[in-house]
Amino acid sequence: MQCFMCGAEVGNEKVCYNCGADILLYKQIVYTSYVFYNQGLEKAKVHDLSGAIEALKTSLQYYKYNTRARNLLGLCYYQVGDTVRAINEWVLSKNLQEEDNPTADRYLAEIENDPGLLTKLNSTIKKYNQAIEYCKAGSRDLAMIQLKKVISQNPNLVKAHQLLALLYIQDEKYADARKVLSAAAKIDSNNTTTIRYIHEVKELLKEQNTGKRRKKNDVFTFNDGNDTVIMNEHALRSMLDTTKTSLINIVLGLVVGLLICFFLIVPTVKDNMAEGNTDTILALNENLSEERDKNQELQEEIDKLKSSLSAYDETQDIPTSYENLLAAQNAHAAGDDAAAAESIQLVSKEVLGTAGKTAYDSLYTTLAPTIIQGYYEDGNTFYGDENYESAIVNFQTVVDIDEKYNNGAALFLLGDCYRLTGDSAKALECFNKVVELYPGNQWGRQAKVYIAADDTELSATEVGD
């Protein structure tokens, strides 16, 4: 270390042996400066900028070459919106320590690189100063407008917040004042002026809320578009207290709504429903008729297809019928009339040609007794088994071919089958024919008995052979 008086090297000595200067005292002064710098730094870290500024100023009063303290002081000024003071501190810092002072270099470079910033800040400062002038001249409204502009341009200018709050307090707008002061406290948390104003505003708000300071003709103001409406408290309360009126309006609205619904909407809805139903029925009728037409068309189509199918079946039946006819002829030629009778019955005469029909008729006539006998025997078998339905089919076939077969036995047995199945009319018809054809033989006599007694309930066994 060098002596502050003569510049001689003094090392760790307390006194300079060259000039006798008090080195210890000098060192104590420098150390005290750094102690204040540390305090300022701690306060700045917790946003106690006012406290930091005071500590850093003290630090510099001890030792002006404490560059760190000066740079930090400039930063604190900058933070509270006092930009010109901040620049001054950085310029001084640079002058006092031209070399190895990167912090000041950086801050100044940032401001130099943004010339618009300086202009803007200067304009804000001018407006702030003008606002102070307005206040002093009694134009508080103009001052408020200016201060609001200043805060919008430089939200960190604590002094502007404080002055605006003071104006609000003067106009008894305590809530607004509190809001502005809260913003100021966020920037500089321990500013004595801000704290004092906040306390004052809190007290005033308390008094206002408890009504101690309420005046009889308290007035409220609010903005309605571009107009400012002023009214006393009673008028405002009565305007806001619309509970009863609202209730009455709601009830009236409900009643009117119900009446409208009953007299206008319900009939209209009913009419619409009736019209809708009629339309639906008409539509359904139309659909039904359309469906019927379609059904008829489809039925016609089915008939056509059926006729086509039957023609097709007949066409298919032709060769089979000829084959059966040939088989019957062959069987007959071989002397097997039973097989011939079976084959000829499988022939469809309608599908045969003229020659085929002639051959069929000829062979059928030849085989007729065999065929009839077959049917008659089958009929008797069914009759014996009391299967009268099948017996009727066989006896009817026999009767259709030859109603006198076996001296009227087939006809009588047919009638008897009808009698046993409860068809009295058909039974009597058969019995009458038997009596007519063979009145003297056993079938005729038995038929007479049935007819005379009208006793169709008699058992066939009683007839005897």
């Binding site: 002006k64 620049i87 400062i125 102070i132 404080q162 002055l163 004052e200």
Partner: protein
């Protein structure tokens, strides 16, 4: 209770950019070390005279 007029007096105009140079020049940069140098110088002078 805040006295508006009294409070208003505490608000001083902020330094504008144009006033920056004048402000720096007007600044008294004397610190304690300067005072110590002065005192020491005066003591040395007195001692030399004697």
């Amino acid at each position: 209770m805040i006295d508006f007029e009294e409070e208003l007096k505490k608000f001083e105009p902020a330094i504008e950019v144009e006033q920056a140079e004048a402000d720096i020049k007007a600044r008294d940069l004397t610190d304690l070390t300067d005072l110590l140098v002065n005192i020491s110088s005066q003591q040395n002078a007195t001692a030399t005279t004697k």
